[in-house]
Symmetry: D3
Subunit: 206 residues, 6 copies
């Protein structure tokens, strides 16, 4: 279970990816006492200044109660499928000993998301649980969620975090309606008010 | 394309299934000049009086502009996977010569829905197009929509049709919020305001 | 998480199915304080006397610490895909309010197993978690386990339960070696000594 | 390998199914010394007289060199998914000890074909090899052939067998062009002149 | 619907790929009034002179009625999975505002085809329709076509276009028989004389 | 059939991969008279000296009776998805004219394994058979074996080969128990004592 994990490592390609895919889950886990570490593989500098994006995610993470976050410096839109990248991820596993990884799905149309999904599968082979979160770019007919986290009561908090990304505000999926809508739809699929959906890459109950 | 079809045959297991899965599409197609035929395989009499349910669907269909609708008498919750059922469906194909079928997905947890999906695949083998619609009971990790119909501007109409099912009103998925939410989510996956999602069973462009 | 569930309902087609698929998990859950209910859909009377088989499973369940077990009377090898069967399963859900269902996979070559998998999907639509266990009859290329329960230290207990099925002892998969071997293989896939593997039908973390 | 099998059991729903799906393979196997047994689950009496259909398949089988063929009497278009049907199939396995089964795919739109595919999976669980052949009714996006048998030089023979089904001659897929065309297409996918394609249900090389 | 699209952008890895996968569709669409743009990601210079290959495709496109075609200069057999490549594709979308993309499937064994399939998924995320065409190199058990375009009456025209590729004439799949055979097989799967088959990546009916 | 192949080309990413995935099959094939060629794409120098690893695999191959083995020099953990790599593989096909390829699955979490799986699919497009073997790193829910080779009686020999990899001995999957366990599990799925499991990429019976 995500909430009872002592250490959660969330890995996103760009500032805002973790918030979008797992913001509610993370917030709830922090409340439940988990130590959450957020790792962004890029500083997202392709279209906006990297410093701005890092500040935004920093702010967002604080709202979600996350005190440990890191920004790697892989090139935005060109995260390499390299040993070096795998190696960096392994470093975080060694350092923080996560029980669970929350990261991108390989069934995503964004090249960086897909790459991070594959890198994570290799790097975190010894971590007992890997769940792949949903982004606005997943392929509708290929993203196959079977794991849902009830985030009822946390959607406004999630939106508060997303709203920190002021530089991205023209992106429709960052709007309040979109945030509520996604949470409500995924909730409706499992009979709760609001949920976040995940593909199960691997889940070992210890 | 659904909208340019001259004859659309929608087949649902119970009164309200067609409205839920394809209400917006049907309404838009009628507006565009298609002849739409709605066929319910049962009268839905398991928990409510059949006459009430038929009246409700009749009212709903009229709101959507559908003038041709039929109710078969297969037993609610026990639609048989039988030759007779296939035969009935074939009769409608012969009689109405549909260009396209809108029906249930075999990836649905409701036994009747699944059965209708399989029956349709056999019965409509000579119809050029079959799309499988979404119900609140599809399996999240197995319903694989690749075909989307933009129903922007028709969501209120769809809800108006759903609201006719007064006998079912305790069902959460018939609420206004649910209707909007589903349409918005599917719309967001393809970049429009509102959509209905379908699995492509077969699609022949003639 | 299975272990932290307060009520677990395990549903098998025949006496011995639950023990084979989820014996270790159940034992461990009972130890952790869960209330486990075992339901057999048949009394397994096709090749052996039903009373013998029920006694064997009763004994097995006691070894695993399960105090609540029930035997429905559906015909062995011919469990019907009927509303009545779904209805019976719903009754158990209403009565016992399980948090999680452990049952057969629809990707199994045994007709009864497959039927129970489909029945469960319909009947337990409102139960938050459904996991599908492995039997010696699952289809190797279609059983897709992503959820694993660590049963290290419980394999001998599982075997002790399986050994109760004296009437079936000619079945190779009930041998000690087979029990250890399956547990070790599934364990090796996730880096522990012994595990039971499950397909995730649906998993809602509340 | 099919050709080096000593006993091949081909199971079709109706007279002509085996010829269509595996005619070339069977012919070649007989030439190579295999003993081929053809089993039809129905006598195909729905639209034509059963005796006529049996005579046609008898003639067809002789052309392919098959001397052992049997007709069960399950109802055409309504082959039951029953224990009795599984039992009948098991009887053939016990009697003839086949090394390999050639039968229908469960990914077929014809209800009888699909049923036979599922029955075979249950009945032949102890037969080392099961391949599922292609019919004109397989679902294009769901029939997933990975096993191909080179039937170069045998296509005319296959057609000669198909031509025996004079009562079905209005079926387009029995035309000479269709026979050649299917064989050529499947051949082109693997670089030979003509082939028959199969899904691998299970293949144990002993 | 392809034919009613006002702007179609076809993207192939090498000269001849578009003709092979979508030649009939394109021809028919041009006749129906669509504006078709063909884009080749390489000039195909690995085994033949680039100029020859470009001249051949130019000739082929003219036969199909396509007046707009472009050749990018990515290295044949080594099209990079890079941001630059995505960027080039986006440029075409911005410039030509296509309604639909016809391109390679990611389920293809040729590395360049697969890469183009992935690039297209990223680059054309805002284009409403993406269909993936069939090449002689698709993986038989992984190419899953559900969308078919009737090209009856256009097969000779398609062959005429293919024949322009004189430098490749030793390739068996460019032969007249292969062209007819593929079209006939795909047609037979949906009940018409000749068809081209596509995987549906995304299809939004507006 | 693997055993009746005259020339088998086994391709692994690192010294020990072929032994792990196909050691029993290879040994049995050599006994049956096949000519087996083993090709390692790297010398495995990332964590151990390349010379040591090559010596170990040389020893292992001799135990299995393989006299032809080659080591390419691609970088360990970073095998490129390049034309050059495909080209090298094609060279082996041209030189040795294999009937069958045994190689990695693309459904593996190790980046090098996955890359070799894709390279092989491109390079060996004209080889009639490709089977993908199992490593300790395959994804449990995505490795889909349908082809099994009975290696009863050869498991000790396989282990003897694995034991040569003294430099890797801390790897748990090289232990005797693991070797037996994997073979027994895969055997149990098809009713024999010991087996190796393969995904069927393509299998043409000539």
């Amino acid at each position: 279970m995500v909430f009872s994990s002592s250490v959660i490592l969330a890995v996103g390609a760009h500032p805002d990816d973790i918030e979008l895919g797992a913001g509610g889950t993370i917030y709830k886990a922090v409340q439940a006492g988990s130590r959450v570490i957020a790792l962004y593989m890029t500083k997202g500098g392709k279209t906006t200044d990297s410093n701005v994006r890092m500040q935004e995610s920093t702010k967002a993470m604080k709202i979600l109660g996350v005190n440990y976050f890191f920004f790697e410096n892989f090139p935005d839109t060109e995260i390499p499928n390299s040993f070096e990248a795998i190696n960096r991820l392994e470093h975080y596993a060694t350092e923080h000993k996560p029980d669970i990884i929350l990261t991108h799905s390989v069934n995503d149309t964004h090249q960086d998301h897909r790459t991070v999904g594959w890198l994570a599968m290799a790097a975190f082979r010894n971590v007992p649980k890997i769940l792949a979160f949903e982004t606005p770019r997943v392929r509708p007919a290929n993203f196959l969620p079977a794991y849902f986290v009830n985030i009822t009561g946390c959607v406004d908090k999630k939106f508060e975090a997303l709203r920190c990304h002021a530089s991205q505000k023209e992106k429709r999926y960052l709007a309040y309606e979109s945030t509520v809508n996604l949470a409500s739809f995924r909730g409706s699929q499992v009979g709760v008010e609001a949920a976040e959906a995940y593909e199960v890459v691997k889940f070992l109950e210890i």
